[in-house]
């Protein structure tokens, strides 16, 4: 990779982190949990994004970030109160900044109209709020607070402005850290027309010259309409490494509004604390900020150097593959040893047992490497919620819990879509409008909760709202109208709720552009099932609904039941199996010419012979001679799969069939068993669905 590209990638990674921190900070402020440290962190985030953007020449991003930063700066200096309205604007501004970053990555475009509107709002904030609370700010802000943060437009009002004179004296440390004076000059040029004079007076004779000492200084003349803060910002990154002296060429006309209050400060000598380089500015304001900045800085450094390393994902994946091989190999070895007739208590068998435990442990720890907190998915959601809320005119508060819950990367990547969809549904269909809520005696702001937790070896994601709940009569009506259920079907509340997962069901009477994108809950359900997950819903009229989805922690291994069907050994995912039983002859009832059902606790479920379903034999075997796996599926409710025999339960490594072949109906994936042969992993849902659609079409709908 081109080194520049590599640096850019690093910058984009940082951007993502910074944007997340920005949003987190703003949300904390909105929740009233923020303090001045939070405001500083928010400001630093935008500032760092801007700084990098300038270095890479993303002009549009710099321009936007600058306005944003100006507004944040007002907030930082206490001139702009971080109330909810302001924070809402800031949050949307952070979304636009995110768009800019995406655009810079080449992965999207910035909505110009939106950006312009955003800029206007931000500028309105800076211009309107800057002068008003000045008196208050002067009263309680520490001395030295007043010199900066003049909004750029401000100076237009100042009559006969005069230029700035900036003396830049780079120190050896600045160059040692890889900064380049040229970049600062370029950055300054961005602020306005500048005149640069090189001051080479310090340059000694060649003999006395040491290569490591910078001798060159620059004198830069800037137009007066540039704010001092903007100039100092340019040097924010270098701090003390590049001392600057900033002076007005001439004192400004005293008539310029309250400008003299601002402008008397900048003429101070370098020794003055006010003239200290910009990063220290925060420290001058409040001592607390210093310690916080140091603290967070120290934490960041520690995390970067000691606690974590960044590893190429491919390496980890390769290792997981290899450990998978190791597990298979170990199983093969165990089988061979067992076949060779070595007793269970023989030393070789005992050694093998230890090996098995070790392999398990290695596998677990390798999988743990790839585990990631769901935060990376969750942190995208506040923005989504804001957008849906503003599009629907509803007021929404998103509460997130369990962001630190860890799950395998393969699963994380596929969580985003279902969660997005469920949140959309919760806000669009679940929550009422503020008026309706007020009528119902609820707070106008609806709450949507997104939570992640570990439960019995799976990850559970819950999306709940405090809206109106599922309108069961209406759901029923629609299902009847669409022919999904018989008009006289007698359904429990639970069954009605689950109708929304049926293909072709959509409750929104008007197709909105939020939820009605032609994708229904059935698609969500399907994609979750494809991952070996389940989704369920519970709803209380008037109180809200909760969607619960549970997924395996990894897609690399699976707990399965090894069965024999026909001549073949197959693996059925344990998650799909509700129970296994040996049916008694009087429990099996024929139904129709070829069909049969099994009586289970008062109900009848269709019997499906696995070997027949997979085309291995023509005629179903006698279920009473085999074993029945009672499985839960979606399309047809429950079904009873008939296998010849159950061999046992074990963890298997999932191997893709698609890698070298293609998707096969009825087969989810493959695995390699202890005898070295490939065994297919059943896709219980498609097996059942296919069989039922062929044979019992009318029953499939009724159940």
């Amino acid at each position: 990779m081109d080194p520049m590209d590599a640096i850019k990638q690093t910058y984009f990674q940082e951007c993502d982190e910074l944007l997340a921190a920005l949003e987190e900070g703003l949300l904390a402020l909105e929740a009233g949990e923020g303090d001045s440290d939070t405001i500083n962190a928010v400001f630093r985030a935008v500032h760092s994004v801007k700084g990098g953007a300038g270095a890479f020449g993303f002009e549009a991003m710099v321009a936007f970030a600058h306005v944003f930063e100006t507004a944040l700066d007002l907030m930082r200096s206490g001139k702009l109160a971080p109330d909810n309205d302001v924070l809402k604007i800031m949050l949307r501004a952070s979304d636009v900044l995110g768009d800019h970053v995406q655009a810079a990555k080449g992965e999207g475009v910035v909505d110009n109209a939106r950006e312009r509107a955003m800029l206007e709002e931000l500028e309105a904030l800076t211009n309107a709020d800057a002068p008003v609370p000045r008196a208050a700010a002067q009263a309680d802000a520490p001395a030295g607070d007043e010199w900066g943060f003049t909004p750029m437009k401000f100076e237009f009002d100042a009559p006969a402005p005069s230029g700035w004179r900036l003396v830049m004296r780079p120190s050896p440390a600045m160059y040692a850290k890889g900064h380049d004076a040229l970049l600062f000059l370029r950055e300054l040029e961005r602020l306005g027309e500048i005149t640069v004079t090189l001051d080479a007076s310090a340059l000694p004779d060649l003999g006395a010259l040491t290569a490591e000492t910078p001798y060159l200084n620059w004198i830069v003349e800037l137009p007066a309409d540039v704010s001092e803060a903007a100039i100092r910002d340019v040097f924010d990154f270098v701090g003390e490494d590049c001392p600057i002296e900033l002076t007005r060429d001439e004192p400004p006309a005293p008539a310029a509004l309250d400008l003299d209050a601002f402008l008397s400060a900048p003429t101070l000598e370098p020794q003055s604390p006010v003239d200290a380089p910009a990063p220290v500015v925060a420290d001058v304001h409040e001592d607390k900020a210093v310690s916080a900045a140091e603290k967070s800085g120290a934490k960041g450094v520690a995390a970067a150097s000691g606690a974590t390393i960044r590893v190429d994902l491919e390496r980890v994946d390769r290792m997981i593959d290899l450990v998978g091989e190791l597990v298979i190999n170990q199983a093969m070895l165990a089988q061979r040893v067992a076949e060779s007739g070595a007793g269970r208590s023989s030393t070789i068998a005992m050694g093998l047992d230890e090996l098995e435990q070790l392999t398990r442990e290695i596998q677990d720890s390798v999988m743990a490497i790839r585990a990631q907190p769901v935060k990376s998915v969750f942190q995208r959601m506040p923005r989504l919620v804001r957008e849906i809320a503003s599009a629907t005119g509803k007021q929404v508060r998103l509460v997130m819990e369990g962001e630190a819950t860890e799950v395998d990367k393969t699963v994380i990547e596929r969580l985003s879509d279902p969660i997005t969809h469920m949140l959309r549904n919760a806000i669009d269909h679940g929550l009422e409008t503020p008026e309706e809520r007020a009528e119902a005696g609820k707070p106008e702001e609806g709450a949507v909760r997104l939570a992640a937790l570990h439960r019995s070896g799976r990850i559970v994601i819950e999306v709940s709202d405090d809206g109106k709940g599922i309108n069961r009569p209406r759901v029923r009506d629609i299902a009847v109208k669409k022919g999904l259920i018989a008009p006289d079907a007698n359904l429990t509340d639970d069954e009605i709720d689950n109708l929304i997962f049926l293909p072709g069901f959509s409750t929104a009477s008007a197709v909105s552009n939020i939820s009605g994108r032609g994708v229904g809950m059935d698609v969500v359900k399907r994609s979750i099932q494809a991952l070996g997950g389940r989704i369920s819903i519970s709803s209380q009229p008037g109180k809200g609904s909760t969607f619960t989805l549970s997924l395996p922690l990894t897609l690399a291994v699976l707990d399965g039941m090894v069965i024999t069907a026909g001549e073949q050994t197959l693996v059925a995912p344990l998650t799909a199996i509700v129970e296994t039983l040996r049916p008694k002859p009087d429990e099996v009832r024929p139904l129709g010419p070829t069909g049969a059902v099994l009586a289970v606790r008062g109900g009848y479920v269709p019997l499906i012979d696995i070997a027949v379903a997979l085309g291995q034999r023509e005629k179903a075997a006698d279920p009473t001679k085999g074993v029945v796996l009672l499985v839960d599926t979606e399309a047809g409710g429950r079904a009873a799969l008939v296998a010849d025999e159950i061999q046992g339960q074990r963890q298997v490594v999932i191997k893709s069939l698609e890698a070298n072949y293609q998707r096969v109906d009825g087969v989810a994936a493959a695995t390699i068993l202890g005898d070295g042969r490939v065994a297919l992993i059943l896709d219980v849902d498609t097996v059942v669905e296919k069989r039922l659609n062929e044979r019992h079409a009318p029953f499939a709908k009724a159940s």
């Binding site: 091989e325 298979i328 085309g615 069939l657 070298n660 042969r677 297919l680």
Partner: protein, 154 residues
Amino acid sequence: MSDGEFLNDALELISFRIGDQEFCLDIMAVREIRGWTVATPLPHSPPYVRGVINLRGAVLPILDLKARLGLGVAEPSARSVIIVVHIGKRLVGLLVDGVSEILAAERASVQPTPNVGCDSVGQFVRGIIAMEGRMISWIALDEILPDETDAEAA
């Protein structure tokens, strides 16, 4: 890498028998040759897909080349071999009766496939190489994988 769109004129081919006909493949497409092991059959697959085997941890589909070419179903014996080839990014095993030898041929010596009024010949044979009185058909590897619609129909 498909079966060798190389710029040089010399072809290196590996020849094998199916029934009483001789076929060959570009040697660059061949990854390895291994003995026959019983494959796990795949449901709802075309008849020429024998199933899948474990190739050092990868799941490898096995195509019965004889059936694919419409020459009847192969009956694997101890002498049958599986030629593991790259087709695009996929690894596929081809079941053949036995590998004969490695041939060198000039690209110019490849004759176009004569039209014998048979679809499978036109589709799967890229050209004919005449050598020492033998006729060897050059297999068009890209064509032999079933596409998704094939599998659905089967």
